[in-house]
């Protein structure tokens, strides 16, 4: 468990755009109870905004017709829901067993040196954020990195360097 209790209040209202609105309406028909839409709606929000604000949670609760506390419960429990904006390039390095055995630490250390951030941090210019995550289900091609959701397998410092170079 990790402490994820802090929410950010933006002071701005939130609503789904037309595309997400349609997707919400399509999905809600697939479940016998509306509460089942809590996770899908949080995903739709994150797709749209990149993260989930206090206002977005209130909106989701309203859309579903449930208590805001239920949305808050889910949003804070599931660690993939970003409760704050992430960097333009969000890098996740797997830190679990097989990636650890195959030297994931070298990649983390390289990133700390190269872009000056440690796991859990966002670079000052907002371009990069780094996170160490648990097993990503790609242990046979360890170590593994996810960049904005895309998998990069059999990584090492050279490949990480090359990957960063494509971003500049």
């Amino acid at each position: 468990m990790s402490d994820r209790s802090e929410l950010i209040i933006t002071g701005k209202p939130f609503a789904f755009d037309a595309e997400r609105d349609a997707e919400f309406e399509r999905l809600v028909k697939r479940y016998p109870i509306r509460e089942s839409m809590i996770l899908p709606a949080l995903w739709l929000t994150q797709e749209q905004e990149g993260w989930i604000s206090a206002e977005a949670m209130a909106y989701i609760a309203d859309r579903i017709g449930t208590y805001a506390s239920k949305v808050y419960e889910a949003a804070t429990f599931y660690t993939m829901f970003n409760l704050e904006p992430k960097g333009q390039y969000h890098i996740c390095v797997c830190r679990t067993l097989s990636c650890w055995l195959r030297e994931k630490q070298e990649i983390v250390d390289y990133l700390a040196k190269e872009i000056g951030i440690r796991p859990g941090e966002i670079s000052e210019d907002g371009r990069f954020s780094l996170e160490e995550v648990e097993c990503l289900g790609h242990c046979g091609t360890a170590p593994v990195v996810q960049l904005n959701g895309e998998f990069h397998e059999e990584m090492d410092v050279d490949k990480m360097k090359a990957l960063l170079a494509t971003l500049k």
Binding site: I33, M80, C135, G137, G140, T141, E150
Partner: protein, 426 residues
Amino acid sequence: MEVKILSEKFDIENAHLLEVAKKHGAYSTLDKLFAMEPAAVTEEVKKSGLRGRGGAGFPAGVKWGFLPKDTGKPTYLAVNSDESEPATFKDRYILVRDPHMLLEGIIICCWAIGCNDVYIYIRGEYTTQVKVLQQAIDEAYAAGYLGDKVAGQDFRVDVTVHRGAGAYVCGEETALLESIEGKKGQPRSKPPFPAVEGLYSSPTIINNVQTIASLPFILTNGHEAYTAYGTEKSPGTHLFGISGHVEKPGMYELPLGLPLMEVIDKVAGGVWKGRKLKGVIPGGSSTPVLTVEEAKTVTLDYESMAAHKTMFGSGGIVVLDETVDCVKLVENLINFYHHESCGQCTPCREGLGWMKKITKKLLAGQGTLADVDLLRELCDNIEMKTVCVLSAACTMPVRSYLDKFRHEFEAYAIDNVSADAKLQGN
């Protein structure tokens, strides 16, 4: 040694597309299926001896038999695609390389158990994988394999993908159901078992992706074709994931029952860099470690693993070379399970945290022999005192390292040299 039963279409280009998959036999069992009584399908699966591939190895057909009859409520199928147990990476090959095999298996299961509504629970990190799966579902709907009339029959199957969001515990079947209901993933107390009272308080079957994907082969070829592979109590084939310190890590489909060392040496290219073997984790990070001696006699099936006081688990084999520091490895394991604890039960939430602190202390060169004993005692005190077995998934392996590699823990306590200092050669 490798076989191609489940992985038959894995190397075919674009086999995730319906047109290609159909050319290679996808959905060809449906005629046979709908000519059979549902009970006969369950019987065939029972005879095949197919066991759950999610980790627990429970016979699939037997589980289906637990569903109560005539409850007046719908029956649900939840397909477990959470794939989060460290060292497990097999189901995603099915999702990406042959999703129609999974969908065909779903239709078979639905017919057998009388189910119309299916949820595939897929871990949130599988971003690219979920797209391929959804595309396959959309194609299957368009072609009439899913929807109100499956292959023209008066039989409805609706499949919905439900994405998780980074919680290992949601692989536990009742936490998974909670998550589909929109709640945080905290496992439920059993009984009632999900077959009686599961999703939305209705009868529910939860099966792993690979379990369901094994059905088309069994139904097409008959149970004897399946039991021709493997051992008497562990029939069939399995998608094994081999990772860690081997030359050729990867996913390999093998019949059950092969000698572990032969698989490591011949299939996975042996221990990497010419190094010596230290131990093997046989079935995902939660299974007790095997020493070199034990690894030499074990075979890859449920019985032999049990006889060696470990588990077949999810078939995720991790090879450890001579350089591995078992105390550090245990720290890595405890960090994972502690991080993934749902927080519901005190022994798990607090106990794993306590174990983490002790291990850290040992690694800092500040521990004592009493700490090593305490760590061992905690394992016994946490296990089986929680709603689900996530805590045991941590204590079982940790205990095995403490018992089989105790000298490494004691060395930290006696020498009082930290891991960092050791690295620098002090």
